[in-house]
Amino acid sequence: MRSRAVLTGTHFLSGDLACAEGAIAAGCRFFGGYPITPATEIAERMSRRLVEVGGVYIQMEDEIGSLAAVIGASYTGKKAMTATSGPGFSLMQENIGLAVMTEAPLVIVNIMRGGPSTGQPTMPGQQDVMQAKWGSHGDYEIIALAPSSVQEMFDLTIDCFNLAESYRVPVMLLADEIIGHMSERVKIPAPEEITIVDRKKPKGPPNEYQPFKPDDDLVPPMGCFGEGYRFHATGLTHDEKGAPKTVSVEEQTKLVRRLCDKIRKNTHKIVRVQEVMLEDAEVAILAYGITSRAALSAVRKARKEGIKAGLLRLITIWPFPTELVAKMADHVTAIVVPEMNYGQIVREVERAAKTTPVSLLSKLGEEPHRPSEIITAMRKALQ
């Protein structure tokens, strides 16, 4: 049923539906989830579409079970995902750690709404960007992408699967209610134009397979259940064979460092940003997701008004492009960070910008930023 998998052509879709189509085009054949506004439409679309392409949709009893099932499916070799929003994302945190520790490639979509707690289910937010990185206990790294259009809901979902397979790490798509619910034109390419990455397979004989022995890129090839490797995986600290090492300082250091370094040391390969008129900019806006659209329009308007404005749009939020931001900070006099939270990514920006002043333009709930508000903030920052 390959032909049903990629709906090549131009469509008018909501972000949630485009995300589901991106997932199926990327080869996702397992969805485990639990309905939640504003991500429900992804589950609904997947329940219909996965059956068409011979995949599995299961609605679990909660988001803890959803992610557990997705990790299980990933270990059989299937590309697997879940989609949720704030409350469900909070429930997933322990198993995000398990996916990190057992290096399970999978995708978690979070259509962010207003929090804390049940907050504002139908309103947009960008309040989970720090939780995405720090929500589970222990030191770890994940990858997170932030789409700013419905087209990117499709494209970046595919990228999420490819990154997950490349680095054996959970990858998050952090969108917000507006991007999830608004409808735009989406171009779905022909299957042969879509790049698909599959996890590295072990090469040697199964009885010599060491499931957590990395290659030079720090990523171990992945055998899957049922392929004859007969291996063990555990959330406990383990050696390269997968054997628990619960009191060895060396094994703990070695494993945790590798899990982090396989992302940190590849940051330059993973990170993607969009730079707009930054060459001669005096003031830079750093934005991501829905706010970057207003930011782009603000930059264009500001230029007309004689303000030398530029935009750095983060497509990759995690790993954070610290070096890139630091370089930009050297060339501008001020940075403005509009966010739909009370100041989250701005902390990373401040850390990277060092002495360059960084100002937060926070919005909670309500409507997204207006270009005029961003221009006012730029003017203020330049004073």
């Binding site: 049923m1 079970g65 099932a69 499916a73 049922g226 007969r230 628990p244």
Partner: protein, 285 residues
């Protein structure tokens, strides 16, 4: 020397990751008996060891997954069944067995248990019920008998325990049995039966915990506990699961449920086939 040789020739050695031995379990613990029965069942059925996955949660018995020489996964506390659900649905050719504890499966993981049973996911759940949280040092849990002494019921337990086989049957399991660690042969036969049956099966193994629960509750040595099991267990196949509560004077054991009901996987495959055929017809028109 001779003895070591004989040990390495133990008939079940090939089913174990011998480099992980010795295991962490205490002397007299029922977990080893449970594992032995499981491995013997695999041996007698000549199960394809490349096509079986053992999943555990967290706890003393949770370490079982790490000892068996097949594909295995040690999940987070309580999530073994949810993980196993993903494995089984994503690759229906695999035989998926969950081996975990009473706390793991019925306290923190209770919701996954009832829903997997309700859906009739084709997985086999074997529970070592030692009436407490052994791994964390003997706190009470959802199976601890009324009045029992644990480290968090210093005045005696005031919570009513679950009757696990009743819960499993009411939730929809197609095969439900209970044995004690004394009933090695019958336990092994039940495991064999469940492995050959499609659908959600549940086997409760009443298991001694001589180091903690049995000691706190003055049940004597592991041998005393086994003698006590012998004295008070009562084999009653087909007995109404609602009437199998464990009391001080009786542990009802046997095969309580053995019924047929289409599994989730089967229903999913049938539905997928129908949907795809309809799509083909539409395309042909």
């Amino acid at each position: 020397m001779k003895q070591t040789e004989r040990m390495t020739q133990h008939p079940l050695t090939k089913y174990l990751r011998s480099e992980r031995m010795p295991h962490i379990w205490c002397e007299g613990c029922g977990n080893g008996i449970l594992l032995n029965s499981f491995l013997t069942a695999l041996d007698e059925l000549k199960v394809d060891l490349d096509k079986i996955v053992v999943v555990s949660g967290i706890g003393c018995i949770g370490r079982a997954a790490g000892y068996v020489n097949v594909d295995s996964f040690h999940t987070t506390h309580g999530r073994a069944i949810a993980f196993a659900t993903g494995v089984k649905l994503a690759n229906p050719d695999l035989q998926v067995v969950v081996i975990s504890g009473d706390g793991d499966l019925f306290a923190i993981g209770g919701n996954h248990f009832i829903h997997a049973a309700r859906r009739n996911i084709d997985i086999k759940v074997i529970c070592a019920n030692n009436f407490n949280y052994g791994m964390t040092g003997g706190q009470y849990g959802p199976t601890t008998p009324l009045e029992a002494w644990t480290t968090t019921t210093p005045y005696g337990n005031i919570e009513h325990p679950f009757n696990l086989v009743h819960l499993a049957a009411a939730s929809g399991a197609v095969y439900v049995a209970r044995w004690t660690a004394l009933h090695v042969r019958r336990l092994k036969d039940s495991i064999k039966k469940s492995l050959q049956k499609e659908g959600f099966s549940f086997i409760e193994v009443i298991s001694p915990c001589p180091t903690i629960f049995d000691r706190y509750n003055k049940r004597g040595t592991a041998v005393d506990v086994m003698k006590w099991f012998k004295l008070i267990s009562n084999v009653k196949h087909g007995h109404d699961p609602a009437k199998t509560e464990i009391t001080k004077s009786q542990i009802m054991v046997g095969e309580f449920v053995d019924v047929e009901r289409p599994s989730y996987g089967r229903l999913l495959r049938d539905m997928t086939k129908k949907v795809q055929e309809k799509l083909k017809e539409k395309k042909a028109k």
